[in-house]
Subunit: 123 residues, 2 copies
DNA sequence: CCCTATGTTCAACGTTTATTGAACTATCGA
DNA sequence: TCGATAGTTCAATAAACGTTGAACATAGGG
């Protein structure tokens, strides 16, 4: 029951499914937060997202993000650690994830995202 | 009743709404087809999409695409001509539209898109 | 002026979605 | 061993979504 959940292979990743996943404000916030964490090359666990919604609702959104191939869950004791499937996404749809994340960053206020770091945009 | 339909201003364009719009296979196909047409700097009318679904269903999808700011409709006689709001999208979310379209191009077969031209990808 | 072609509107429908709370499982530390 | 912590599962619900067909509006050509 606590085995590592299923993820699609790289080739199975489907564009409409990915876009649908990213179109939900809560899931977009999760992805955005994971992208921030990427720079520290570390992971986040479920509890780090408790601000976004209730635990049971988050479990639902995590499953969606996993099933569409956007993120990866690693089980460690009573924790689940998650990170973006950056390499697979970049190989499958080059530039897409970055474009979405920097678009989200531009609208961080409107989307109620934590401005954890400054925007990645260079001039 | 046949006045030009409402479109959001550039600033009103909302990321989750845009992604949601693009996540539907029919709407993605419409956007893809409009993007192909962009190179000829011309427009397409409703009838050009009849292969994708029934007329009444297309009207529904066109409305969604308009309301989220992805495309623009111009009424001319008994026809409606449509094109992408390329400038607004690029200003609002730089790189997003291109990333989605070239991702769709990569999966043209799987998404049942017409391979109207070869893929834009350069090496 | 009628007929046709183009596209919209509306109501109906079945499906999928996001959200909730309560009950549950599993792991860790005292 | 007990209790707290982390997260899942499940059933229920309300809202939104995509699709359909029939009826309608409008413009252009014979």
């Amino acid at each position: 029951m606590s085995r590592t959940p299923l993820h699609p292979t790289r080739e199975q990743i489907d564009l409409p499914l990915v876009l649908d996943c990213l179109s939900d404000p809560i899931r977009l916030a999760i992805v955005y937060q994971l992208a921030q964490q990427e720079r520290v090359s570390s992971e986040l666990c479920c509890g780090d997202f408790n601000g976004l919604s209730g635990k049971s609702n988050l479990t639902y959104h995590f499953a969606k993000l996993r099933e569409c191939g956007l993120m990866l869950t690693r089980v460690a004791g009573t924790n689940r650690f998650m990170r973006l499937r950056r390499e697979d996404m970049d190989a499958r749809f080059p530039g897409l994830l970055d474009a979405v994340i920097s678009s989200a960053a531009k609208d961080a206020d409107r989307l109620q995202l934590l401005p954890e770091c400054e925007v990645v945009e260079a001039d």
